[in-house]
């Protein structure tokens, strides 16, 4: 038997998330194509982060799974962040 944490997500939720993802894609194309500045780069990456969170939370069911999956996912993202920061600390201040 499937364990009790299995949760049936309605089709509507998935459709709604897709609409959100498409809107966010549209915004990121718009902000970078109209006029590219340092800010639009930041916005595009922030939007990619938001899109990833939506995919991981809803499509990948992290929102409905046991807490351990969320904790591990956050730790891995933090690890990637630390590697990025440490690498740039090296390049910027050596």
């Amino acid at each position: 038997m499937p364990d009790s944490t299995h949760h049936t997500v309605p089709y509507r939720t998935y459709a709604l998330i897709l609409v959100l993802l498409l809107v966010l894609t549209g915004i990121s194309v718009a902000v970078t194509q109209i006029e590219l500045t340092k800010w639009s780069t930041l916005v595009a990456l922030l939007l990619a982060g938001i899109k990833t969170s939506l995919v991981m939370a809803i499509f990948m069911h992290l929102k409905f799974d046991q807490r351990i999956f969320r904790v591990m996912a956050i730790l891995i993202i933090l690890l990637l962040g630390v590697v990025m920061v440490v690498t740039f600390l090296d390049y910027l201040f050596r």
Partner: protein, 205 residues
């Protein structure tokens, strides 16, 4: 006395199965994460060349492929709902749609790569040699990262192809669907990687 013994033989641990899949996904994230670090450092060191080289990429094709992958991610997620609702036909249909979308993505990629190569923009080409180190690095990373991603698309298609057959043969059912969930998780990973590749190569020129 033999009855409980036979029950024990059917032991299954869905949570452990999912945990294993997530651990694998983490190794994949670290693999691509390393490449994103390489990209960021070279972009920082050769910002002007990366800026000009990225303009060579077609935003329309990139956006189209983003939309295709996002829709395919939704259809595979929906298939896990359909199987829970004991709706085998819809499950099969949704996996099939996902596979078709994946194939369309690869066809787009084929034409995109073909266009670049016919313009002499490929690793080791004489045109890139003349353009200099920054452009060589940009297109090297472009071909390597989108190529590795396309390889993941192909692997994902094979995995989902198996899931299609398993659902077809009732090996995956409404009370035993962790395999389909895991296949779906892999497909979403492929989507997540593209969500970052798209702005980094196509949008931030």
């Amino acid at each position: 006395m033999s009855e409980p013994a036979t029950l024990h033989h059917n032991h299954r641990d869905d949570t452990a199965s999912k945990l294993g899949m997530w651990l694998f996904i983490f190794t994949e994230l670290l693999l691509f994460g390393g490449l994103f670090v390489v990209y960021s450092v070279y972009r920082y060191l050769h910002s002007q060349a990366f800026h000009l080289a990225a303009r060579e990429l077609d935003v329309f094709t990139g956006t189209l492929n983003t939309v295709i992958l996002l829709v395919s991610s939704m259809t595979v997620a929906m298939s896990t709902t359909a199987i829970r609702k004991k709706d085998k036909r819809t499950t099969l249909l949704l996996i099939a749609v996902t596979l078709v979308l994946a194939a369309v993505f690869l066809v787009n990629k084929y034409f995109e790569w073909g266009g670049k190569i016919s313009h002499g923009l490929y690793p080791g080409s004489s045109i890139l040699d003349e353009l200099g180190k920054g452009d060589t690095l940009f297109f090297g990373l472009y071909f390597f990262m989108t190529g590795l991603h396309a390889l993941h698309i192909i692997v994902g298609m094979v995995v989902l192809g198996f899931m299609f057959v398993f659902v077809w043969k009732d090996k995956i059912t409404h009370d035993n669907f962790q395999q389909l969930e895991n296949g779906g998780l892999y497909w979403h990973l492929v989507d997540v990687i593209w969500i970052f590749l798209f702005p980094l190569f196509y949008l931030i020129t």
